[in-house]
Symmetry: C2
Amino acid sequence: MVDILHRVGIKSSVAEVYSALTTAEGLAGWWTTDTEGEGDNVGGVLQFRFPPGGFDMKVLELDPGKRVRWEVIDGPEEWIGTQVNWNLDRVGDYTIILFEHQGWKEPVEFMHHCSTKWATYLMSLKALAETGKGAPSPDDIQISDWH
Amino acid sequence: MVDILHRVGIKSSVAEVYSALTTAEGLAGWWTTDTEGEGDNVGGVLQFRFPPGGFDMKVLELDPGKRVRWEVIDGPEEWIGTQVNWNLDRVGDYTIILFEHQGWKEPVEFMHHCSTKWATYLMSLKALAETGKGAPSPDDIQISDWH
């Protein structure tokens, strides 16, 4: 098993970042405008859609202001069964996100792509929380020929 | 052992990207302006300096237009002995970089930070090769309280 890891610090409140991870409106502001579902109750399902396809995530855990965990229940084969974990902490003026997309079976080329892509989406989340404007799909940053 | 993985695609020639990885001038254009040393011969040492410190890399392998491998011989404790591998390929109009920073002993918080930071530097390398202007340190993108 291999994991994608990231860390960003956001000059915004923990509550605002938590909201951007648990409401369809918040998620639509930084990941994909085509977001539907229930992110604020355990067992709820979030549906994220992008031009090439999408992901369904089941909410596994919610600890307000501290932790959000999702399990991928539908999407690309490599993603199914993986978990996306968001750990929040407050350090000085920053809300720190420790991010893990864990449980990849193999370090395939698609995993390399998703690692870079997650970084740009985390920067989009940071921009949303700090300035009110993120860069969600379909206006996300293009990193390669895969989009 | 855990690894940082990334993939970017650059609309520029393989030769130009290879040059940006093997010459002090190229490296200074996307990673840190304070770059010195010999990146174009195996056994050469590159010295990268940033406001908080730096890294010394020994060139382990050079396969022009295909592959560059470095070993970290000085820098933060967590980096020493790790390897940075650049694999280049041509796909359509793109030079594809598969990037690995491999051999981390533990998935510490600093590794999460470096994973996100590598992504932003890879986007800086992409910008340099596509537009002539990257965002090297000290004018790099700030991702958190750690800079």
